[in-house]
Symmetry: C2
Subunit: 332 residues, 2 copies
Amino acid sequence: MTLKAPYLLFLGDAQDNLSIKMARSAADWCPQLCLGEMALPACTVSTGLPALTITEAKQQGAKSLVLGLANSGGFIAPAWIPSILAALDAGLDIISGLHDKLADIPAIAEKASEKGLQLIELRHPKVKLHTGKGVKRSGKRVLTVGTDCSVGKMYTTLSLTNAMKHAGRDATFRATGQCGILVSGAGIALDCVIADFISGAAESLSPDADAQHWDIIEGQGSLSHPAFAGVSLGLLHGSQPDYLVVCHALGRTHMRGLPQQPFPSLQETIELNMINARLTNPGVKLAGISVNTSAVSVEEGEAIRNTIAAEFGVPCVDPMRGGVDALLANLE
Amino acid sequence: MTLKAPYLLFLGDAQDNLSIKMARSAADWCPQLCLGEMALPACTVSTGLPALTITEAKQQGAKSLVLGLANSGGFIAPAWIPSILAALDAGLDIISGLHDKLADIPAIAEKASEKGLQLIELRHPKVKLHTGKGVKRSGKRVLTVGTDCSVGKMYTTLSLTNAMKHAGRDATFRATGQCGILVSGAGIALDCVIADFISGAAESLSPDADAQHWDIIEGQGSLSHPAFAGVSLGLLHGSQPDYLVVCHALGRTHMRGLPQQPFPSLQETIELNMINARLTNPGVKLAGISVNTSAVSVEEGEAIRNTIAAEFGVPCVDPMRGGVDALLANLE
């Protein structure tokens, strides 16, 4: 898989900031690869990048159109197809992180083939997977886990990888979802593998490595989410992390998408993850807590983080407010 | 999906009794549909049914060849292909419970098409799946869970369903694996769904029902198995069981297929399952324990069951030695 940059980010008809997380991830984490964004008239959100037509983007050197959307069900809306076809006409590859496959839409498949362009389906693993073995691997591993979905696991993982590299350590970000794969150019979307292979796929993502090498592995879902905990548990077992970083977001009252489902406490989340992590790494430790405090002021956020750090005896950071350096000291 | 009986059970080159669990399930639970078995020369195990050639089976009225094997990874071994082709030549449908698809092997696909025969892939769900919702459903649910894979969850579930029906209760067996689907003719192989949909698929298997109806749901894997715990957790959450029956087998020293992985205690297994089950059913109860005591004498088995029942304060049964009636009293 070769992702060809620079990118034009397609926002479709999105009206919700969380629904353009593919575009936002690229804009936030590889802005040097993003020329701008393109949206349909109904769209009401933006990444903040310049608005470009396909023609303008092509003139500026764009190589791929990235479908910037993440919707429930992962479908490709009919309204987007003319834009996708126009991008192919202009000579751009198409990059998608949806469940629906571009290649299953005949008009798109035919035009891509005719033009010799790539249809890259980031969510669909191309590698042959195996069932998990649970055998200890060399090297060091950190996994982010969460109280819920969309609480900042990917941002924390990327921030931590960058901080480690900045500190001169040998570290690799391991992507487990479509946004992380787009940003880093490699990985496996664990929510899209066959269920028997979740932990085996996670094992293959962080293979044996040098004793001083760090794999910083992006978490998925939450052990407390009734829809997605199976993926979270397979990822936890397959990653056999030496350290967990628990991620959390302020201001949530229920699990994402499930109004009836109560939100777990940090204490419950830590215990549930530590108990389960010990199955494949009895020596697992809690390295720290990462909180998305954007729902409150900077000062309130800092006060909340200090309280949490005191309660659990580990550093508590917000990657977007102050960074994650405080975690490094806890990663031996 | 229409399974055409009677069956010829194919054992391939199996050398391990647990590896022919598809064949054994059919021989044990629908013997009236099984004419006999067929094996390659390297095979060292048997279901106890008569050995038949394909020609003999066909003469006796066989309608389908059932691939009786369950291997890690679910592959179709090249050594089996000549037998599959010969069965198609004789006019038999092929029924498989493996991950690998019969239809992906060109020689098999072509011959089946040429002969107008069915290739039935029990493991591959045909229904459209959704993500889990975690919303409480009506009716009553029992789920079997285990210390490990292959400890008797399906046999316990089938026995319990039969015992309930015998006692005049309204009960349905819900198959979650290929063997249960073969025996009952319906179900979803949960280890073969896309990971995002595990708990949603489990929800769809035991829909809203009459308040007095019992769904007796077949468990999969084990929360303590590093390869398969993700499937077990999604199934546990999606089933939202009112009662758990913990299944166990004597004489195991490590998790199935993983020599380095220690076996959990019954106590640990009960706690881990109860903690996780409470996420979608806070009122979940332990109904009893089911132990495969075939590794010891009947008397030793009974003594061990009495000890376990006393320790945990619930009935402890062996479905193949004395049945499961003692569990019924604990299911209100």
